[in-house]
Amino acid sequence: MRVTIDGIATDADPQETVLCVARRLGIAIPTMCYLEGMKPLESCGICVVEVEGRSNLLYACATRVADGMNVHTNTPRVREARKLALELLLSDHRGDCLAPCELACPAHIDIPEFIDRIAAGQHRDALAIIKEVVAFPGVLGRICPRFCELACRRGQVDEAVSICALKRFPADHDLQEAVPYLPAKQPPSGKRVAIVGAGITGLTAAYHLLREGHDCTIYDSAARPGGAMRNIIGEYRLPRPALEAEIEIVRLLGARFQMRQTLGRDLLLHDLLREHGAVLLAIGATREKQAEFPGVEHARPALDFLRAVSDGERPVTGRDVVVLGSGLAAFDTARTLLRLGAAKVTLLMDSGTSSTTFFIQKDDAVSEGVKIQTSCEPIRMEQGWDGTLRLVIRQGGKEIICEADMVFHAAQLEPDFELIWSLGLDATDRGIRVNPKTFETSVPGVFAAGSAVKAGAPAVQCSASASLAARAISRFLRGARITEPRPPEVRVQNTGRDVEELLRGVASAPRLQTRRRRPDDARAGFEEADEGFSEEQAIAEASRCLQCACAKKRNCRLQALATEYQADATRFAGVRRPFERDDTHPDIVYEPAKCIRCGRCLVIAEEAGEPLGLTYIGRGFQVKVAVPFNEPLREGLRRAAIHCADACPTGALARKRRR
């Protein structure tokens, strides 16, 4: 018997199905419910194919071949039907694919997983998971704006899990080890990359590129690498040994540092391009955007001040100091001034709560004694005869006069546009213009990332963009197509009532506080104010994590296919099942709202000779998989639980996390 599939003619046995023959020919037809060696379940509808002469689409898993049959497995009509099937399944598929925290994390650290490892005492594993995407967990664990904690589900019960401090913990723990954790490297690719800028962006990109086997040279105008991590952030927040240790890892991976090299003066872009396969501009945003109000010249630039302090200088400060500005540098200036002996430090912020640094530094700054006023607009400043500065600000429609010995202005930072233009690069109003997906600039072979692209981006976003840029550069160096990286993954998330269901019965457990110096002690010197978690604390805090992420997030068939077919998970709104979770079984969890009713588990349970097993209850849209007579799951699946969980194409049935 002859059949043709996608133009390939072959001999086939009449007992064979279209799917069998296609697989033999190496033609991939996606399936979800199909179980090798079992009667086809014909439920998911994802294996539909077109057969010439038949007006309907046929299920490849159940359709026997016939002589002269001409099958097409990948026509637009077939793809459209498969996409629709996936969209329909997704429209009634509830639960979290990823935990809210990892979604909110710009770097996409696998937060639930590393927290799980910490809880299990496997700190090196935890570090390895974090260092998959982030090169500076010790740094970020201290200075990150913690979007993850804003999203944390636990926050709706009591308080968010201290994700950030937990991220820092394995990095700090690693410092005490004899041999630090060093990620594995790919064999050398023979390609060279020049990275301009040794800040978090440049170093992170180098970290990833080196792991990929590329040779990296990092150029920076400063004497030592670290960028803003060294220049702006005070030692009391980020002790230098923690920073050096993580930079050391980059060096150990093979990075070459060329310090005191300034782009445009000592270095020319076309020279770099000639000698390297690609150039990454991680030049950051280093220029202060001057504010314009009369008397602004009396204010001292905060950046110069911070840089001097970081170089070990301890400049004399006034008694009564005002800091203007709302960015990262403003808080650091204020807190550094306290440590240098200022009696009163007032921070006048021009904007309010929208600043990302506001979240993380506000409490510390206030506890140390910084007075914060928001929504202040400076009008003018003048110097009195005794040198006292009088700053007139407008706050809430009223004009207020502040007197101070010294005023620091922490202006907004922006990239060096003159340099960008002189290099012949296109720019946006926030930095170098790049293709947002590939990080390519307007000059071929030149990439850019971090705050050079988007001034004011928090460190974690710089880190995230650096790792994405590194991936793009790596593809570019290998000659692969870089225009389109992976399509966005299709996900569903719990909302509203589902979250309530998820959180029902969660016992309240207060968030553990890290070991902090008393504010008075803290402001007395440059010792680190927050010493993070002890191991015991870290493990206890890690066990507060609710593990919201789907247990199948790495091997969900539905998600993989939905991503492949670019199904729109939000296409259909309407009636859907509420989220439920049954974790009464010792080995597996059951989340019925994720079930696609494929029937695999029913067959497996029956094959395994389960006395009760599983059955469909009801029919139509309401049909669900359950144990007969409302018995608990542990009764229904006594033998086949793990087998069922592994066979489930979604996270409806999944193995419990070991703990």
Binding site: E42, L57, S91, S354, G574, R619
Partner: protein
Amino acid sequence: MSREQTNTDPRICLAEAEEIVRVAGSSRDRVIRILQLIQQRYRYLPEPVLRRVCELSEATPAQITGVASFYSQFRHRPVGKHIIRVCHGTACHVKGSVLIHDALYRCLAIPEGNDTDPEGLFTVEKVACLGCCTLAPVMQIGDIVYGHLTPDRVPHVLRDFLEQDKQRPTARRRRPVLERRDGVAEIRIGLGSCCVSKGSALVKEALEDAITRSGAQAVVKRVGCVGMCHQTPLVEVVIPGERPILYARVQPRDAKAIVARHFPAAGVIRKLDRAVSNLLDRLVTDEAWKPVTRYSIDFRDAPVASFLGGQVRLATEHCGYLDPEDLDEYIRHDGFKALSLCLDRLTPEAVIEQVRQSGLRGRGGAGFPTGAKWATVLSASSDVKYVICNGDEGDPGAFMDRMILESFPYRVIEGMAIAAFAVGAEEGILYIRAEYPLAVQRVQEALEHCEERGFLGENVLGKGRRLRFRIFEGAGAFVCGEETAMLASIEGKRGMPRSRPPFPAENGLRGKPTLINNVETYALVPWIIRNGAAAFASQGTERSKGTKVFALAGKVARGGLVEVPMGITLRQIVEGVGGGIAGAGKFKAVLVGGPSGGCVPAELGETPVDYEALTSVGAMMGSGGLVVLDDSDCAVDIARYFLQFTQSESCGKCTFCRIGTRRMLDILDALCEGKAGEDALEELQNLARTVKEASLCGLGKTAPNPVLTTLRYFRAEYEAHLQGRCPAGRCKALIAYEVTDDCIGCTLCAQNCPSGAVQAKPYEKHLIDVEKCVRCGMCRITCPEKAIRIGNAPLKDARTGPKRKPATIYRISDDCIGCTLCAQKCPARAIKPRPCEKHEIDQERCIRCGLCKKICPHGAVEAK
């Protein structure tokens, strides 16, 4: 079902489970029968009994639980003392059954999500069709059918029922009935389900009573369905040598008068009776709650002649005078002649050739050539083959199969026997819905009679052939009309279909070749064999031969069961046979083929009844429901109604049907509530097309038909719904009742309004509070001046949903870092979470709650 509840049920005795399993058999394929018997005993399925059955039989807990929850016949909770069945058939739907249902819930104070009133007196059930389409809207309490209901009558009906129930005699007297003889006058009474449900059994009793008392020389004779369901109960008086007289809509109290008129008694009472009988000649309006008119009708009357004149009776031959249970009478009317002809003179091949030449095609809907199917089964090599009669008719508004089974059980059996002979099968199964108890009973009795007389059994007609037929009672699942689902059901499983091929003709029941034909198809076979293929093929069109039985209902003047020749146009059926639209409405469309069929607009009324012609206009022959719509019916509402049906009947196996029909229904719901988005129609069309192409079985493949045809022919109406208007004034959320200047200030509407929405001052024009109004239509019904008009609902915010709320528009600026916090919190799911990329707000979905703006840590949401 909570276990405590069932364990404390004092009636439960586990020993009965043993008895039930012994009676029904203990193999896996007996599960449905076992469950039916348990339910017969307890009126629901108590869990302890089910568990005991698992121990006693081969059935597994998984199978029992799966099957018990699949079929809608089975109940899992104890029921109220009386069951109210509210018909939701098509005819009842277009006449407002939803309002009746709502009124019942209001009246009985049944909490939402429940079906039984707090006192446990009444349980309200929705049924697909009671088969009384011409009395629509109807409900049945116990065995009493109440028709022509309006919401305001519901409390009276309940009171009436409780009174009747109190007075009900515990046992009825048996009366001696005259032996039937030739030459004796006959009073024929229709005893099809629709007649019975309208009280013909009581009429029969009353007639017998009247005959006994008056001593009249007459017998009362049951006949099958006459088809004139719009006139039931029908009584025909046939006196030899006289012109037969037909009485319509007879009530038990008329019996005496009818008997007295035709069989005058001697004595004092004679005069009195005379006076009474005169009443029969006039139109009598009943003052009681049932506004039923009774009058005698004549075959020569124009309406009756046109109703019957357009019809050709083959499957329903001898309709109206054949006693359904009388085998001798059937034999006198050429019964079993065809079977003996086959056995005596024809080879199986010759029989099949006859069927092939006749051009007979399957009457179940798809129209597969019957001869070809038979030939496939014949040629399949197997020691065992089966024939199955598909009587699982479940379309709302269709009751052809039921009527044929009830009225002509022998004919169906004969057809099946011929088929069994032709394909070489010895075993046959009649799959009949359990909702058709009368059909089950009649066929059961007929099978017994046939066995006794040798038409079935070990040695059929002495020719040495073996034929065993049995009945399989379905348990309430429309999808079991699909042949592979039916096979699963017969094998004791959930009625889930599988893909074909292999077709049942090659691989059917228990893996053996199985012939499955519809009731009507089998009923036509004896006629074809007796009269020859050519006679049959002379009726009809090029590719569709013979006749088709339809259940005609809806807004038509004369509904009922009709058998018409193929090729007759839809307009001829509606206007000729059906007598046009009842009342003042205008003929708008015909729904052909029920939930699998389509909506054919009046402009295409010339479409002939022909498989291909109907398919070409987007409809299909279906099993034979014909529901006529007038201009007060809303096309969107009709599409939604049918989809509700198919959606609730979907077995849930394949994705496309299970979720696809649900999503289509979601869109239609949104349309009917004025909440649909701009791209709703396009989305609906795309969805419908793919569901049709990719669903596993016939149910899913045809479910989109009503949607696709209404979209095709009544697109303007859909577009009006997009703008929040319902031109037919049907969709509750889009209409508002208004009091016109005709109001005389009588306050009747206010007195009847269930929600207190009418502000009425006597002698002043009343006002209706749109917010309070529940759109039950009570005011319109009660208003003596017809001063309530249906208008468009005012554009509101809270009711018609978020769509119209004029407010700020939220946008995401370039400050977005892609942290997805806003998307995670958005209650309307209007923000697509694309991590690390700038998010976007879907303005269609956005409900302007502003949460995203509040939540964004980067101030990246701007409000305008």
